[in-house]
Symmetry: C2
Amino acid sequence: MTEQNTPKFDQLLCPLPLPYKDKVVMSHGSGGSMTKALITEIFQQHFSNAILDQENDFAALPLEGKDMRVVVSTDGHIVSPIFFPGGDIGRLAVSGTVNDVAMSGGQVKYLTASFILEEGFSLADLERIAQSMQDAAAEAGVSIVAGDTKVAEKGKADGIFISTSGVGFVDASVQIGGAQAKPGDTVIVSGSMGDHGIAVLAARNQLGFTTTIQSDVAPLNGLIRAALQAAPSIHVLRDPTRGGLATTLNEIALQSQMDIHLEETAIPVKREVRAACEMLGFDPLYVANEGKVIVILPERQAQAALDALHAHPFGKDAVVIGHVETPSGNTPRVSMHTLIGGTRIVDMLSGEMLPRIC
Amino acid sequence: MTEQNTPKFDQLLCPLPLPYKDKVVMSHGSGGSMTKALITEIFQQHFSNAILDQENDFAALPLEGKDMRVVVSTDGHIVSPIFFPGGDIGRLAVSGTVNDVAMSGGQVKYLTASFILEEGFSLADLERIAQSMQDAAAEAGVSIVAGDTKVAEKGKADGIFISTSGVGFVDASVQIGGAQAKPGDTVIVSGSMGDHGIAVLAARNQLGFTTTIQSDVAPLNGLIRAALQAAPSIHVLRDPTRGGLATTLNEIALQSQMDIHLEETAIPVKREVRAACEMLGFDPLYVANEGKVIVILPERQAQAALDALHAHPFGKDAVVIGHVETPSGNTPRVSMHTLIGGTRIVDMLSGEMLPRIC
């Protein structure tokens, strides 16, 4: 990201009440502009290096004298509640990290898991979560090869937190990443938006009504492998997790220095998810997904990719939602042709919409 | 580990009051026998695979058709307080994971970091910790290449937790690991025992007196590289962290199916650490270290290893503390020739001695 596009930490903190200017707030974990500011102004400031600064959800590490790279990724998981319709923190921890590594276009092979447990946490729940992790790992074809367990006193954690890291391998010739979107590229999503976020909210009984919505949490490496076999020229793969589709596309627009134009009517949102969002005042484009992928690729391979996605259970609702354009202004942006015929700018999430969604 | 040597979960939980039989207790995070039981009975039960079951602090992953392995490790860090004499949670998170990877005998290259922050945590402290992480990473010659940040509500975490994972590379021919101790091998430690644990206790004002003890927290990959150059036949490298020297040697004895015999008078413990332990009723052999390594190797290379360790600032007090023997009984054990002339069994830590020491 070039400097002029980076929101400044101070600017982003200014709207907050003064006592919070020097403290971590929930929005710092939203995955939106506050998270980006925290990363840019603190972590990148200190850790800066060529690999980290690429700002992908994975890091591709060179292997001296070899024709492949080692791909790693890490994610902390603090979802609340830990069990929700369609999944649990264990399936989430495995799927989230498998997916981040898979977004490199490489093969995911191994996971590590660091558990932080709160004193008093149920051993039966821990066992159920371990089983769920192993089920998701087997589904993804990966092994959990190293782990660590720490215990914090009652009231100093919240049941269970799981940080997973993933290891995979990718041919050195593969250049898939957020900075690779090109003018004319087609933008595909693999299915409906917002299922995970709304399912977690439902599990918190925050909807005020019952719903059948299930989280989409799933390891996508098999789906992505199928898409890559059918469409080897894919430029960008990314999963629209925290911050949702809108935030993720804004990140890609900034990394690639490209405009992205969407068709609102094309974006798949389940009826129940749309209804829940309307009642709660949410925009489903900002709600987290944990089993969906954005695929950006040359138009000539779009149909082949769609056919491959449709043939896989996790991609049966895949659809073209937009395309990439040369930037019309100084700042790359995401815009959308709306239902009612106008065009509006789709910004990155600012503030916190749904805390502890992953 | 063979089955007959594995303490059974139920046996280990039996001594606890009934309400805690089905819940996580602080001892599950001690690094001692309760931690081992939790890992064996829950995590290994579900995740079991050839690499995990080797029970090293690192996992060495095969690279198809290559003459090297990728080495990964992961550790969560929840130390309290986050700043202590000689270090902080940032230096600890980098050093702990660098050291776990280095114990494979390979070269550590990359780290990932997953941050779990509590709402209200000081951004100035976060920045200080990030700087400390980068300083330790630079000292170790590694890059932090991927990260993640989550935020939990006030009262649902404790300031900051950091899970780090490390990536390194080792020649496929290197076989260093906890199962490699051989009869006649010499056991070396790189310096004094218990400094880290007592320094953290001092920072909690739990000593009841002031002390000049500093944590030994440091990245040891340079020290280990020097030792390996001087003594390439090293069989075992391991850092005696949670559970201390006694617990770590018991793990090695079990993995190698060997007895280990120690000389109490040879084990270096600083005067202030010994005094603090006596006042608190602790045995310094069970107190955590974060900048020390146990080296087990053939006697013929012991002097070369000692010379190399002595030439490095982190190994200047390295000393031979014992040797490896063919097991005298059915169960491998660690024994010690004591100050007063007798011999006693040195068991694995049971229960919790010092919570949240790392």
